[in-house]
């Protein structure tokens, strides 16, 4: 079993149901996502069925169940970005990558996340790739942006 998960659980001796959310948050922080193994282990630990934990975790947008991709894309859906058309940006990303927010592409390259506000409202609409901000994103440029990262990987492989 994963040592880091055990480490986290150790900090919650005799924990009950109400410790579930903080435990899941810590695991996600440390692992980047909630694996099946982690969820099953937490279930054993808190005596909660896996279906219940999965149900609770899917209730909140913050949890993901797949490891993040090599390029983790955060789409800002704050007010300013919304006014400048971030919905279209998100739509295009979903279509191009064929995934929903919270998921990772099959090749493991990209993952998608929606965030409330990245705090760069002047540059709206904004996305961030591995923490790097891209400003004033236009939906029809998205294909090129994704291509750029794909090429980066291919070049590295050479």
């Amino acid at each position: 079993m994963n040592d880091k998960v055990e480490e986290i659980l150790k900090a919650y001796p005799e924990a009950h149901r109400d410790a579930l959310i903080p435990i899941l948050q810590e695991i996600q922080q440390s692992e980047g996502y909630l694996s099946r193994e982690a969820i099953t282990r937490v279930g054993d630990y808190l005596k909660l069925p896996a279906s219940k934990i999965y149900g609770v975790a899917t209730f909140y947008n913050q949890f993901r169940f797949q490891p993040i991709g090599r390029f983790h894309i955060m789409v800002c859906r704050g007010t300013a970005c919304h006014v400048k058309g971030s919905a279209k940006v998100l739509e295009t990303l979903k279509r191009e990558l064929k995934i929903e927010p919270g998921q990772t592409t099959r090749d493991g390259l990209f993952s998608l996340e929606v965030v409330a506000c990245l705090g760069a409202c002047g540059q709206a609409p904004v996305i961030a790739v591995n923490g790097e901000f891209l400003a004033k994103v236009e939906p029809d440029k998205i294909r090129n942006i994704l291509q750029f990262y794909r090429r980066k990987v291919m070049d590295n492989a050479k």
């Binding site: 969820i39 069925p49 279906s51 934990i53 999965y54 909140y60």
Partner: protein, 573 residues
């Protein structure tokens, strides 16, 4: 006691009881969708709303306690309008395919729409679209028909102690699903079908095997043999508007012949056989130091439950196969030989009150030479569908007997249909094995009734035995935890998965009405009361089967055909 006023009439009620209870007693029906008798109210659907004078807004009657002087209006224009709106909204994103739905004609949503006079589409919403989960051999889940009443989730958790399913996601995107959205077949689901029996719509249904059965009936190469479980004869009638508790055994035999089955046998015969083996096994364990307590093994939901959640208790399970599997095995060996038919041509059909029996029939360890002993399982509801499909009018059929030799049963076997019945039947025969004489009073009152845990201590010969009968696996969990924690006074435990036993199985005609369950139970006990042969060992045809083929209980042949072993099972739980 308090006095309240319902629709301008004075009524007495217990202080603090829920309004809905009082209404039921008074014969006033307000519709409910999320209410489950005996469980804590969830107040989710708001369909049961009524007006209470002095309280702003409508209140859910299922979760609102009465108090002195309360004035209630159950069918005020405001309450009716609110209910109608809820149903209209539910219909707005419900798939419009009633004509193709298994619940067409007995769907609660349909009935409510009719009762409330929904005749036009006032709202239109995006139709729900989810993948249908057909991965389980027992249960089909179609979340697009789900109205999120939550009853399946609560039954699975609170009655069965399984929690295979839960609410997943949030808000308008919420649905009922399994951990990690996996198929039900790899979840902890034990296939009991209790979720189906509470579902108001077609979102949950049994995996149907009607097609295989009809194909076999149409195939001249096949000898199609049917067996019906002990409880079927006292529940099938409800599907044809007969009074609950009517025993239709003779008519059912006649109907099965009309449907084209070549032989009609009674699973109660092999229930007798199970008792012969199980009582012998109990005596053996008592004399040879265990493992005790021995636990019954005829309920396949329970077996899977132990394999998943309590593998340490696998050794406590009786090694006896269930009556369904025993009869299947005996038909394809002894009977085939005797009748000189090639077992490969036999198609064994079992009519069961149970969806988990479908799973059991597919267990690889219960097949011989790569052939399953049972080829298809139909629930009571599926049999009723088949009868309707063929246009048979039950009222016009003359009763007929089942075929010999496996149509002959004692009434002990018949008791397998109720919680406590297997234990009672086993005690009758164990008494005979241990003392050489019959129980002075065959009736064992302590083990009867709908209560979820029944226990008693009794003296048989030199042995002082503690026995228990539990039903509903949340109750079984309680007992297993006690035993884990050192409880030692029990020697034999009967466990039935469904609350009340097979009469309340997941494949039975839809009802959650306790009165109907009581009528079914009473019918079985009356059959026993009036029977000439009331013990398994008194069944002449059982005696003959041992003389001609099996030798004696627990013989080598018995072991090969009638016993099995179980294994720890890893699932998502």
């Amino acid at each position: 006691m308090v006095t309240i006023e319902i629709n301008n009439r004075q009524v007495k009620a217990q202080n603090g009881e829920y309004i809905l209870n009082v209404l039921k007693r008074e014969g006033i029906r307000v519709p409910t969708l999320c209410h489950l008798p005996d469980l804590f109210p969830s107040g989710a659907c708001r369909l049961c709303v009524v007006e209470v004078e002095g309280v702003p807004g409508l209140v859910p009657s299922c979760a609102f306690p009465v108090s002195e002087g309360m004035k209630i209006k159950t069918h005020s224009p405001r309450a009716i309008r609110a209910r109608k709106t809820i149903v209209e909204l539910l219909c707005a994103n419900h798939p419009d395919d009633c004509l193709y739905c298994v619940r067409n004609g007995n769907c609660e949503l349909q009935r409510l729409a009719e009762e409330l006079g929904v005749r036009e589409r006032r709202y239109s919403g995006a139709k729900n679209e989810y993948k249908i989960d057909t991965s389980s051999p027992s249960i089909v889940r179609d979340p697009s028909k789900c109205i999120l009443c939550g009853k399946c989730v609560r039954v699975c958790e609170e009655i069965q102690g399984v929690s295979a399913i839960d609410f997943i996601g949030r808000g308008s995107r919420a649905y009922i699903g399994t951990a990690f959205d996996e198929g039900l077949n790899i979840s902890s689901c034990i296939n009991c079908g209790q979720c189906i029996t509470v579902c108001p719509t077609g979102a949950l249904r049994e995996q149907s095997n009607l097609k295989e059965v009809v194909d076999a009936l149409n195939n001249p190469q096949k000898i199609v043999i049917v067996q019906h479980a002990p409880s079927i004869s006292v529940t099938l009638g409800e599907e044809f508007q007969l009074k609950p508790g009517t025993d239709v055994i003779g008519i059912m035999n006649a109907a099965l012949r009309r449907l084209g089955f070549d032989r009609v046998f009674d699973t109660a015969f092999s229930a007798d056989l199970t008792i012969m083996e199980e009582a012998a096994e109990l005596v053996h364990r008592l004399k040879n130091g265990g493992p005790l307590p021995m636990m019954t093994s005829c309920s396949p939901g329970w077996i899977k439950f132990v394999e998943e959640f309590y593998p340490d208790f696998i050794g406590n399970l009786s090694t006896c196969r269930s009556p369904q599997q025993m009869l299947g095995a005996v038909i394809k060996s002894y009977y085939a030989e005797k009748q000189q038919i090639d077992a490969a041509h036999i198609f064994n059909v079992a009519i069961m009150p149970c969806t988990a029996k479908k799973f059991e029939a597919e267990r690889p360890e219960l097949s011989r030479n790569g052939r399953p002993d049972i080829d298809a399982v139909l629930t009571t509801r599926e049999l009723a569908r088949l009868i309707r499909m063929r246009g048979l009018d039950l009222r016009e059929l003359e009763p007929e007997g089942a075929d010999t030799p496996f149509g002959e049963r004692s009434s002990a076997g018949k008791l397998f249909g109720v919680s406590g019945g297997v234990m009672e039947a086993a005690i009758r025969t164990a008494h005979y094995y241990l003392t050489g004489s019959e129980l002075p009073l065959v009736k064992v009152q302590e083990l009867r009734g709908l209560s979820g845990i029944k226990e008693m201590h009794l003296q048989i010969g030199d042995y002082k035995l503690g026995v228990a009968a539990v039903s509903g696996l949340a109750n079984a969990r309680k007992l297993l935890e006690q035993i884990k924690n050192g409880r030692k006074d029990l020697h034999f435990i009967e466990v039935m998965t469904c609350p009340g036993g097979c009469i309340a199985g997941g494949g039975q005609p839809f009802t959650t009405n306790q009165e109907i369950l009581k009528a079914r139970m009473k019918a079985l006990y009356e059959i026993d009361r009036d029977a000439l042969v009331r013990t398994a060992h008194g069944n002449r045809y059982i005696q003959r089967l041992y003389q001609e083929y099996l030798g004696e209980p627990l013989s080598a042949t018995s072991h090969e055909l009638l016993h099995t072993h179980y294994f720890e099972r890893k699932v998502l739980k």
